[in-house]
């Protein structure tokens, strides 16, 4: 049972530099469903993710978790992984330290997380010399070690080749199987279909459509979403 | 790694034990005296006799007297009798004793455009230099040397100003460097001149005038004004300077066989 979900956004707006990037978004995210945030470049996917994760404060409206301690029970993976100048193991240990895990447990939990994502053999390698795909897997290991209730992923495979993408998607599935709610933004339709249960379609900062994967893909209900699926949406 | 190692060095470096010395006094004196090498000769003798180390801070006379007034030293040893006596009157120093004298000389280019070489009358020489508008480098720093120089100009009724008269605002050595580079005349103490190595075309042209004699005095900073002053150690130094032993040490100091300072303390 999730302690912090559902996450409710109530009339959330975000304005920066005079432009409204998120426009009165209201939605509730429930446990158990993998939510894909879909949209063209510039639609506001990254901003929405950051508002939900708490990295940005809304200009208007409210972001409300359902329980206590939401801060510690979520994790985020960014498009470009940011690693500290230490070993792969060291990076995971850092995250555990930040989360308040007692020192005696950190190394064991970190090693387990690395094994889970297939990086066990690279534990002592400096994180910064790992390949893009390996670093992204390391980001996921870092999140895994924290056993989050919600995992936000902001276009996690946009910079990776198909092989690395495949590995990342497998790990995301593992998170899902372990009970973590997935909230992922992507502009890859294939990835959305492979990993998602529902689609939230974002167009110019507003949610235009929300539907299950089965209902969305053959026939999106709105014109904007339909255009996107057909690949005809002009880049903003 | 870097930070830790550096921290270690810093802590060791600042450990007071590294620089603690049991008995020492701070003596404020002039750069010309220091540059002459006198202290290098007599201070080890004093330390051997009494175990007291003497730390000499060499400044211009004006600054040295000010250092004494502020209480930043224990003893002042300079060559400006009038200023010294005035400050004793004002209560900054306990007493003043004659110690020694050296003399000033007028140096200049061997070509001697003002024709002063061999003159024994310093004031007349300065008049000729002024008359020829020959380049003259002055310290211009209110030092004892500078004050002596100005007194002589005044005695000749001259107010030295003009392109020919260059005030360097610095010590004896720097002024001699300038004179050497400019082939100018200059007013120097014999001590600095004898150890000065960058003479270029310069040579001693005028000497021997009694008005060129430069009297040194030593004073103890007044403990009534500055209780922290090491009055016993400081007094020991003064006593030694004016004692036969100290006076002999001063007389024994020579550069190239030539005596620089002539002891004249009265007991």
């Amino acid at each position: 049972m999730s302690a912090i979900l559902p996450l409710r956004l109530e009339e959330v707006s975000f304005v920066a530099g005079g432009r409204t990037l998120i426009d009165r978004v209201s939605l509730a995210l429930e446990a158990g469903t993998s939510s894909i945030i879909l949209g063209a470049n510039g639609a506001g996917k990254s901003v929405l993710m950051r508002l939900m994760h708490g990295l940005l404060a809304p200009s208007a409206g409210r972001v409300a978790w359902s329980g206590e301690g939401a801060r510690r029970r979520q994790a985020m993976v960014f498009q470009r992984p940011v690693m500290l100048r230490r070993s792969a193991l060291g990076n995971v240990i850092y995250a555990l330290d930040a989360a308040g895990v007692p020192p005696v447990q950190r190394e064991r939990l970190a090693a387990e997380a690395l094994e889970e994502v297939g990086l066990g053999h690279l534990a002592q390698r400096p994180a910064r010399v790992l390949s893009g795909g390996e670093q992204q897997r390391l980001s996921l290991a870092r999140a895994w070690a924290l056993h989050p209730e919600v995992l936000f992923l902001d276009e996690p495979t946009a910079s990776l080749d198909p092989g690395a993408t495949h590995e990342i998607e497998n790990i995301i599935r593992a998170f899902d199987a372990a009970g973590t709610k997935i909230v992922m933004s992507t502009h890859s339709l294939g990835q959305a279909r492979r990993l998602g249960d529902e689609v939230i379609y974002l167009h110019q900062g507003r949610i235009v459509e929300r539907a299950s994967i089965e209902r969305f893909f053959p026939h999106p209900a709105t014109a904007e979403a339909a255009a996107f699926v057909k690949g005809e949406l002009p880049w903003i | 790694m870097d930070l830790r190692k550096i921290l270690l060095v810093a802590l060791c470096a600042l450990a007071p034990a590294a620089w603690a010395q049991d008995k020492f006094i701070v003596v404020s004196s002039t750069t010309s005296t220091e540059n002459s090498g006198l202290f290098g000769h007599i201070l080890p003798l004093f330390q051997k006799k009494t175990g007291i180390a003497v730390r000499v801070v060499a400044q211009g006379t004006g600054q040295a007297l000010d250092t004494g007034r502020r209480g930043d030293c224990d003893v002042v040893f300079v060559h400006n009798r009038n200023a010294e006596l005035e400050m004793v009157q004002e209560g900054w120093f306990v007493d003043r004793h004659d110690v020694m004298y050296n003399d000033f000389v007028i140096v200049g280019p061997k070509s001697d455009p003002a024709h002063v070489a061999g003159l024994q009358d310093a004031v007349a020489a300065l008049k000729r230099i002024r008359g020829a508008s020959a380049p003259f480098a002055s310290r211009g720093d209110k030092s004892g040397t500078h004050s002596a120089e100005l007194r002589l100009w005044k005695a000749g009724g001259i107010d030295p100003k003009g392109d020919w008269y260059r005030e360097t605002g610095s010590g004896m050595g720097a002024t001699l460097n300038t004179a050497s580079a400019m082939n100018a005349y200059a007013f120097a103490d014999r001590g600095t001149w004898l150890s000065f190595k960058n003479r270029g075309e310069l040579a001693v042209l005028v000497q021997g005038d009694p008005r060129l004699f430069n009297q040194y005095g030593v004073m103890l900073v007044n403990p009534a004004r500055h209780p922290h002053v090491k009055k016993d150690l400081g007094q020991a130094f003064i006593d030694w300077l004016i004692s036969p032993g100290g006076q002999a040490a001063i007389a024994a100091y020579k550069i190239g066989g030539e005596q620089l300072f002539f002891p004249n303390a009265r007991q």
Binding site: - | L3, L7, L14, V26, D72, N177, F196
Partner: protein
């Protein structure tokens, strides 16, 4: 001038214990000052880079300007503070190596802090979101970034060391250039120049430059080795 240089180096090569005492003191004073300035200045720079408060821009401008503090002015101010006639006279620190370390620390602190601020601010853009996502903020985040960019900070520290070992104004005034006690390389060079012993002064100058070069080379090697190890 080459003659002067040659005879200078010859003089230095034959010189005795006293020269090495002077070199040793120079290193101790400057390295201590840099260490202290780094200890204070690196966290200060990091805090300024990461913090947000009113007047922050003004503080940054002032800090950058302080990099150009004239050593002789710093020397004079510290002198007035440490003099017996001044507020801190009780400490009896004037004309000691400790006073020289204090003066040089004041001189070097703005350099290290300002350069660290710039380096941390640049890195902060990369690290900030990820650290906040992990729940790391404020002081802890600043220190994490500071430690992560430690090899780049070496440049800031070396800049400080360069300033400290090169200056003569501050140490001359607060140290008094006392033979065997507060005489360092730069003040010795000034002294020998004023005595007209230019070859010796030049020789010492070469030694000073050589030492600073060696320190910089060593730092560069450390930096490269570390970068190969840590990425």
């Amino acid at each position: 001038m080459l003659d002067t240089l040659a005879s200078g180096l010859r003089l230095v090569a034959t010189l005795d214990l006293r020269l090495w005492q002077v070199v040793g003191l120079s290193l101790v004073v400057s390295l201590s000052a840099v260490a202290l300035a780094a200890l204070l200045g690196l966290p200060l720079g990091a805090a300024l880079a990461v913090g947000r408060f009113r007047g922050r821009q003004a503080v940054i401008v002032v800090l950058n300007a302080l990099m150009g503090l004239p050593p002789v002015v710093v020397g004079l101010v510290i002198y007035l503070l440490l003099s017996r006639a001044g507020p801190l006279g009780e400490l009896g620190l004037l004309f000691t190596p400790q006073a020289m370390v204090i003066a040089q620390t004041v001189l070097v602190l703005p350099i290290i802090a300002a350069l660290a601020r710039q380096a941390v601010e640049d890195a902060w853009r990369e690290y900030e979101e990820q650290l906040r996502s992990l729940g790391v903020e404020g002081t802890r985040a600043a220190l994490t970034v500071l430690w992560d960019i430690r090899f780049s900070l070496l440049t800031a520290v070396l800049a400080g060391l360069g300033r400290a070992s090169a200056e003569v104004g501050a140490v001359m005034i607060v140290g008094g250039n006392i033979d065997g006690v507060t005489r360092v390389m730069t003040t010795t060079i000034a002294l020998e120049t004023s005595k007209g012993d230019l070859p010796l002064a030049l020789g010492l100058g070469m030694v000073l430059i050589g030492i600073v070069l060696a320190l910089n080379a060593a730092a560069q090697l450390i930096k490269e080795a570390a970068q190969r190890r840590h990425g």
